[in-house]
């Protein structure tokens, strides 16, 4: 399992993450990123990678489980 991490301080609400991976990301009424789930399934991984790449403010990172447990 891997986790998606979001940085709401740097997020500017452009919304490309939601377009790339709508099952993992949403935005609040201010347009800022909200994480819908902590764990990313294997099926969702490529979409989350796309969201990471598509974010203009580099506010999304992907963390593998081993790193998360440390």
């Amino acid at each position: 399992m891997v986790k998606a991490l979001v940085d709401r301080d740097s997020c500017r609400g452009y919304g490309n993450c939601l377009i790339a991976a709508p099952s993992v990301f949403d935005v609040d009424d201010d347009g800022l990123v909200v994480l819908l789930k902590d764990d990313v399934s294997e099926d969702e991984l490529s979409a989350v990678e796309r969201a990471t790449y598509d974010c203009p403010t580099n506010s999304i990172t992907i963390e593998s489980d081993e790193a998360a447990e440390k």
């Binding site: 609400g13 452009y14 919304g15 490309n16 939601l18 377009i19 709508p22 935005v27 609040d28 009424d29 201010d30 347009g31 990678e49 796309r50 790449y53 598509d54 203009p56």
Partner: protein, 387 residues
């Protein structure tokens, strides 16, 4: 002879992202970026927004640092301008005479601001494209000058906001009936124009520059209605032209940008185009998309083709945003002046709404002002319909 690998001409978003996406796909051949500017690749949207307003600095907008280049084994040749291209020998010629061989080439030289002959050679006249321009303008705003902005497109209007935020008195002149109308059409353009006027910007519509003179400090600019405007700083925001001069004499050359498919393929085998210089077909039109998201999307597609992935057949993502006087403006698709604009949520008079355009029963554009969440719902729905 060593493998020349991929050469990317242009160190902006499209160039940097192509290189990064190639490496993340495990592409193992050499990657070399030839960048015209001395700066390490940086993100351009903040230049006319937070950077110009003095809220962020150069360290905050870096796209590809020296460390990242070293880690990814990307060679960045900074301050090197492409002069011409020899497709027979598959070599790029630089302005200083150096020849750079390539297996595959990515054209990502972007665009350069247009200027006006009436203002050529006059001091205190600025364009806004690269970080040097933005730095100079940001410094010029510090003394709270009277600012005249020529051109009411999104760069001109964002510059107006930044200047206003710095305490400058701002006049914008726009040649057509409404600002932003080339992108948003006249009706939404009117809404945006009134938004600026309500925040203290003086907006003169259907006016252009006929003459300008300076006493060395202050500019006197004569308009098409014979009015004269006195300004300490003039910002030229009258659009851009594709940086294609170095391609002249090749099959790639076209004044309007390099024609290509949605995966960046040009008419020349092994040569791709991405970013503001590219002219792909989108929604049936061959058009240059001068925005962040399509440049990023094309870079990803080009990297995919170069690393052997299947073509991405989805429509290019032409999403565009702008921030003006605290309002987030967002558009996807293109607004057709002849089709009806339907307000889906909110109200135009409240400066908070989502509106859409439909052609043949399908959404062709969604625009939002200050409705980021509703906009994303509509953008997702539109993507589902047009996919």
């Amino acid at each position: 002879m060593s493998d020349p690998g991929v050469v990317i001409v242009g160190g902006g978003l499209a160039g940097a992202r192509t290189a990064q996406a190639l490496r993340s796909r495990g592409f193992a051949e050499p990657i070399r970026i030839v960048a015209g500017e001395d700066a390490w690749p940086y993100d351009r949207p903040p230049l006319s927004k937070e950077f110009l307003a003095g809220e962020v600095g150069e360290e905050d907008i870096c796209l590809l640092s020296a460390d990242a280049c070293a880690e990814l084994d990307i060679e960045l040749m900074r301050g090197q301008r492409a002069a011409s291209l020899d497709l027979d020998r598959r070599e790029l010629l630089l302005a200083d005479g150096v020849r750079v061989p390539f297996n595959q080439l990515v054209v990502a030289t972007g665009a350069a601001p247009r200027t006006l002959p009436q203002l050529d050679g006059l001091g205190n006249v600025f364009t806004l494209r690269d970080v040097g321009d933005a730095r100079a303008l940001r410094d010029a705003f510090a003394s709270k000058p009277r600012v005249l902005i020529v051109g009411g497109g999104f760069i001109g209007l964002e510059a107006a906001c930044a200047a206003h935020a710095r305490g400058c008195r701002v006049t914008v002149i726009e040649a057509s009936a409404q600002p932003m109308s080339a992108v948003l059409g006249a009706k939404l353009g009117k809404t945006i124009g009134e938004w600026h006027e309500s925040h203290g910007v003086r907006l003169l519509r259907e006016r252009s520059v006929t003459h300008a003179e300076t006493d060395g400090e202050t500019l006197r600019v004569t308009l098409s209605d014979d009015a004269t405007i006195t300004a300490d700083v003039v910002v030229l925001a009258v659009g851009v032209r594709a940086e294609v001069d170095w391609l002249s004499g090749t099959a790639l050359h076209s004044e309007d940008g390099v024609p290509c498919d949605i995966n960046g393929r040009t008419v020349v085998e092994g040569v791709f185009a991405a970013g503001d210089v590219a002219r792909p077909r989108v929604h049936g039109r061959s058009v240059r998309l001068g925005h962040w998201t399509p440049a990023n999307d094309m870079a990803r597609r080009v990297a995919g083709v170069l690393s052997g992935a299947e073509d991405d057949e989805r429509e290019l993502d032409d999403y565009f945003w702008s921030d003006q006087f605290g309002a987030r403006l967002q558009l996807v698709g293109s607004i057709d002046e002849d089709s009806e604009l339907v307000v889906e949520t909110g109200a135009i008079e409240d400066s908070s709404f989502v509106a859409s355009c439909h052609v043949e029963g399908k959404p062709s554009a969604v625009f939002a002002m200050n409705r980021p969440r509703d906009f994303l719902r509509a953008r997702l729905a539109m993507q589902a319909v047009t996919a």
